[in-house]
């Protein structure tokens, strides 16, 4: 069937459709569009936060939030959009961190080169493992990613000659062109820029042919396959992408905190990352940021409960998932839509 015949047979519909699809938009429409609204809000929050926070501890919290937010945005592409569960993602984060730490501290590589090498290492591992692992579905995939994560974690714990073992290892500071980054404020702006850029890139992916292909993996793999989408290829792409981002943020985390321990690669950290995705909202970028904020800050506040911390933390997870299975942001969004009609 040629596109020509179709256009003549439905010329009026085509005309309206082209207007709908291709109209010129003013800057206001862009800023307040659902597409860019979240980005604008994020930008605002990131710019305004330093006005309201003070002291090393609060900046430290903000920085940890942003590190998690970046990881979770990318993980949401894999888990929320493409529907592929990963219970081992912290291992990529930890591996990125350890590679950076070891290369800078033991082998005295320049900071950025070490950071890049960590990302390349993780990307290579993810690319090799992606095909066999992503053939699996549901709980089998959950089990396999969990297993992969545990193996990496156990290697990090066991090979103490390289990694410092269970006690962790210290990391030289990030040094760019002879300038060592220590200051919390500098870290804040560095990570703020990174998170905003990641959010924007993720936004671009979602609303693109690649994004539709990813969402189709979740919606119906059969439909995707039949539409000419190479299912394995796209699964690999999104798995490797999310692993790479985790490694990058792991490296930056190592530089920032000056220390890295095996628990960053552990099972509980993997679960925390998935919880951020699901609690904030699967397939919601705003949700990813909200999830990262809440789940990073929650344990900090729960510390005052001392030995009741885990009890309450577990209870919160259960209650949110029981009463808001779609996550906070989509649930609230749905409520607002219903109230405003």
């Amino acid at each position: 069937m040629s596109a020509n015949t179709m256009e003549t047979s439905t010329s009026t519909a085509a005309a309206t459709a082209i207007v709908a699809g291709g109209e010129r938009t003013s800057w206001k429409d862009v800023v307040f569009s659902p597409r860019y609204g979240g980005l604008a809000a994020l930008l605002l929050v990131v710019l305004a936060t330093p006005l309201f926070i003070d002291g090393v501890y609060q900046f430290d919290m903000a920085i940890l939030v942003m590190i998690n937010a970046a990881v979770v945005i990318a993980l949401n592409l894999l888990v929320g959009y493409a529907g592929q569960v990963s219970l081992g993602h912290a291992a990529f984060f930890g591996l990125g961190g350890y590679a950076t730490a070891i290369l800078t501290t033991r082998y005295e590589w320049p900071s950025l080169l070490a950071l890049g090498a960590g990302v390349v290492l993780v990307v290579a591992i993810a690319a090799v493992i992606a095909r066999p692992i992503l053939r699996l579905k549901g709980y089998y995939l959950a089990m396999a990613t969990l297993g992969l994560g545990m193996i990496i974690y156990l290697i990090i714990t066991q090979e103490s000659w390289l990694t410092g073992g269970p006690d962790g290892t210290s990391v030289a500071p990030l040094e760019v062109y002879g300038y060592a980054v220590y200051d919390e404020i500098v870290w804040y702006w560095l990570l703020a820029a990174l998170v905003v850029v990641m959010y924007w890139l993720a936004l671009n992916i979602i609303d693109s042919p690649v994004g539709r292909a990813l969402r189709a993996l979740h919606g119906s793999e059969i439909a995707a396959d039949n539409s000419g989408i190479d299912v394995n290829h796209y699964k690999t792409v999104v798995f490797v992408l999310s692993a790479g981002v985790a490694a990058l943020m792991g490296g930056l985390y190592a530089f920032y905190s000056g220390f890295i321990a095996p628990s960053t690669a552990g099972f509980m950290h993997s679960i925390e990352l998935v919880v951020m995705v699901v609690l904030g909202g699967m397939a919601s970028l705003v949700g990813s940021v909200v999830g990262a904020v809440l789940m990073t800050l929650l344990p900090q506040y729960l510390v005052v409960l001392s030995e009741y911390e885990w009890l309450v933390y577990g209870l919160v997870l259960m209650l949110v998932m029981i009463f808001m299975p779609r996550g906070l942001v989509p649930t609230l969004h749905g409520l607002i839509r219903r109230v405003t009609g």
């Binding site: 888990v79 569960v85 219970l87 066999p132 692992i133 053939r135 699996l136 549901g138 709980y139 089998y140 959950a142 089990m143 396999a144 969990l146 297993g147 992969l148 545990m150 193996i151 156990l154 290697i155 066991q158 059969i222 099972f267 679960i271 998935v274 919880v275 699901v278 609690l279 699967m282 030995e307 009741y308 911390e309 885990w310 009890l311 309450v312 933390y313 577990g314 209870l315 919160v316 997870l317 259960m318 998932m321 029981i322 299975p325």
Partner: protein, 290 residues
């Protein structure tokens, strides 16, 4: 040869406890389609309860029994409090709910019993028994014996009793079972309760060997899950076989090569199996319908 037999016995002993945990995974998975990440923490609940009930002066036999009851109650509570109310949850939400339950149980244990390591006396003394060059502590006999007895009892339960057959029917097709007049929510409750009790039994029988600790459930849970998947999720025979394979491989690895990577054995094994046999050793190979 003696060395090999020694490792084999060690492997079967530890594999038996994995089997109890794996059977718990299977029961819950068959009845509800849920992987219960709190399964390992039932082991902890069993072990810790036994220690503290005994410490309060209750005779051993009764204390062990009560500990298993506590485990069963934990399972029932998990179903009533976490699973039944979550009507719209998909697997990923259910994963998080059960992880939340696991953390909750760990949290409760921390508050009630603290973060120490506790030991339970062995059931029948510590005098090692020598046989064919193999040295066995009496507790190993208890572990293996209790597991064999439970597997046999479960076998009878599923094939000989109305209730057991109802559980099986529900696992094959829940809608059809409902139509046949089976109270499926009762079956679910029973499955979670049984899974809790099975976990607690594992906790009670290993506590004399390994120490009870509020975080002991993590590795038991993960390895029980590995064993269940190894055998093909949902297959009871597969779960027991998977657990024994896992226990024996771990013991051989620790004995002949190095115990550094003992815990990694489970995960390497499961990755290899899943890569080459995506539905496990005994899994039903479903053809996807289009």
């Amino acid at each position: 040869m003696g060395e090999f037999l020694q490792y084999l016995v060690t492997g079967i002993t530890i594999g038996s406890t994995f089997a109890l945990v794996a059977l718990g995974f299977c029961l819950v998975y068959n009845a509800s389609g849920i992987i219960n990440f709190a399964q390992g923490d039932f082991v902890m609940v069993g072990g810790m309860s036994a220690v503290f009930i005994m410490a309060s002066g209750v005779p051993m036999g009764l204390a062990l029994f009560l500990a298993v009851v506590v485990g069963g109650l934990a399972g029932v509570l998990l179903y009533k409090g976490g699973i039944q109310p979550a009507t719209n949850a998909e697997p990923i939400q259910l994963i998080i709910i059960t992880v939340g339950a696991a953390l909750f149980l760990r949290g409760v244990a921390q508050v009630v019993w603290g973060t120490g390591y506790f030991s339970l006396p062995t059931f029948t003394g510590d005098e090692p028994i020598r046989f064919l060059g193999v040295v066995m502590v009496p507790q190993s006999f208890w572990v293996i014996g209790v597991t064999v007895a439970i597997v046999a009892a479960l076998g009878l339960f599923f094939t000989r009793t109305r209730l057991g057959k109802a559980v099986l029917a529900t696992s094959y097709n829940r809608d059809a079972a409902t139509l046949m007049g089976i109270d499926t929510s009762m079956v679910l409750l029973l499955s979670f309760g049984l899974a809790g009790a099975l976990g607690a039994v594992a906790g009670v029988i290993v506590a004399p060997i390994t120490f009870a600790h509020y975080e002991m459930g993590i590795m038991f849970g993960l390895k029980g899950f590995v064993a269940a998947v190894l055998g093909g999720l949902g297959s009871f025979v597969g779960a027991v076989a998977g657990a024994l394979i896992l226990g024996i491989t771990e013991a051989m690895m620790a004995g002949y090569i190095s115990s550094d990577y003992k815990d990694a054995v489970a995960f390497v094994l499961i990755l290899l199996i899943l890569f080459f046999m995506p539905s496990g050793l005994f899994g039903r190979r479903g053809v996807e319908r289009v």
